[in-house]
Amino acid sequence: MKKMTLFAALCCAALMGCSKDWVNYSPMDMNGATLGYDDANAPKRLRAAAVAIQPSATNKSETLDTIRALVERIKSEHNDIQVIVFGELILEWYYQADTPVAYQHHMAEIIPSATTDFIKTLAMTHQVHIAVGLTELDTPSNQLYNTQILLRPTGELIKYRKRNLNETDLDNNIQAGNTSQIVDIDGIKCAMFICSDMQSDAVTHELANQEIDVVLQSLTTTTDLHTQVSYVGNQLNKWIVFANRYGKEGDFDYTGFTHIINPVGTISERAVGKNVYVYRNMGIY
């Protein structure tokens, strides 16, 4: 009897696994028909773009020039654009294998900086909100954060620090943030969001309880399994502006797949490649 009880307990422990707050994705998260979503008559709208660029490993000016070129291109092609989202840690390589911590320290920004002022100027010039991911160096503590900044057309800077870190963040000696950041863009409530924040059960639950209209997600990923149904779309059931990166960085090869996902989990807009973007006039109910 005791042996059976112990065996059952071990089985339960094995089945339950660790209590770590981490969400992995299953085929069932993408299994289903491509649902439609009628937002033509929605009372509110947000015009957004998600961009995938290839950052330079060492030349930040070159990367900023690429950002400027994409902002100008999007504005010329979609004059009504309200927010443009770029990828996670997009001012440099996501991971430099030789000296990861030293590399992140070297490429980190103390906010505000000349770099953030450059992006602020772009936002003010083109009257568009711009979200960009970068490594932040917090000077009092000398700690690194995986940060997403949002520059408003007024010049205001808002920052959000990634809360749910993955193994690469830990290898980069990144520290976790501890607060969410919800911003109002022209009457639309938007959550600032970085990559593996979506893989936190607690953050997922928190986001569901907040009355968010849109998630502005800067991320770095190679996990491209379906062109029409999104696992994170089925998880969050919000509009998601999903901006990735492109390029070969060491052992990682990023295709630049970038999406705008609707609240039923369908990928509404998709682009793959270098320096590409997707645009959507999202209807918000």
Binding site: W22, N24, P27, M30, G32, A33, T204, N234
Partner: protein
């Protein structure tokens, strides 16, 4: 393609109709990997791929079947979670045609068939539900290593899916679909390893169950 699938379904149904009631067997099985598919496996690749070996069944599966001469029908009920926030209860009903396969006093047989799977993807945080139904082609091998113990290894291939959601302003859809992850593989069958019990009523004419 649609016409070929329709003809195959008609052929299977025709074979089912002409089965004569002589040997009857009842089967009760469970999918041994379904609990693992629902477990919090830390490796993301393993977590993604393991359900392919559990027929995309998560948690606990109970299956009951009826085999009459060469024909079989079964129903599978699954209850469990695909991940920490999504419940995925499922109901599958299927038909199998068993080819002859006698070997001494052991019984074993290959089979082919079709099934219809219904599942509800319930996001417990957003309270959204996505109801889906999917026809599948199945093939498998059932054998009896010891008296009354059966092992059923089954391959299932989805051929389409229709879904509807409770999210406001959503529209139902139906797709010809052979994989839940088409960029991983455009055609992706699922496997299941089932173990259980076969009961043969004593009123059967033949003493040896004949698949």
């Amino acid at each position: 393609m649609t016409i070929k699938i329709f003809c195959l379904a008609i052929a299977l149904l025709f074979n089912g109709v002409i089965c004569l009631a002589q040997d009857r067997h009842y089967t009760f099985t469970t999918n041994i990997l379904a609990p693992l598919a629902s477990a919090r496996v830390s490796n993301p690749t393993a977590f993604t791929l393991l359900p392919l070996a559990s027929n995309l069944e998560y948690g606990f599966t109970a299956s009951a079947g009826y085999i009459q001469n060469k024909c079989g029908f079964d129903a599978r009920l699954t209850i469990g979670k695909a991940n920490s926030y999504a419940w995925t209860p499922q109901l599958q009903i299927g038909y199998q045609y068993y080819f002859n396969g006698k070997h001494l006093d052991k019984t074993r047989s290959w089979y082919v068939g079709a099934s219809l799977r219904y599942w509800d993807y319930i996001n417990q945080y957003t309270h959204s539900q996505r109801h889906s139904i999917s026809p599948n082609l199945i093939a498998g091998y059932m054998f009896e290593p010891t008296r009354r113990l059966i092992i059923d290894i089954r391959l299932s291939q989805m051929i389409g899916v229709a879904s509807v959601s409770n999210i406001d302003h959503s529209r139902a859809a139906a797709n010809l679909q052979f994989s839940p992850m088409p960029l991983l593989s455009p055609v992706l069958p699922f496997v299941s390893f089932n173990i259980g019990y076969k009961w043969t009523p004593s009123s059967n004419v033949l003493t040896t169950p004949a698949f």
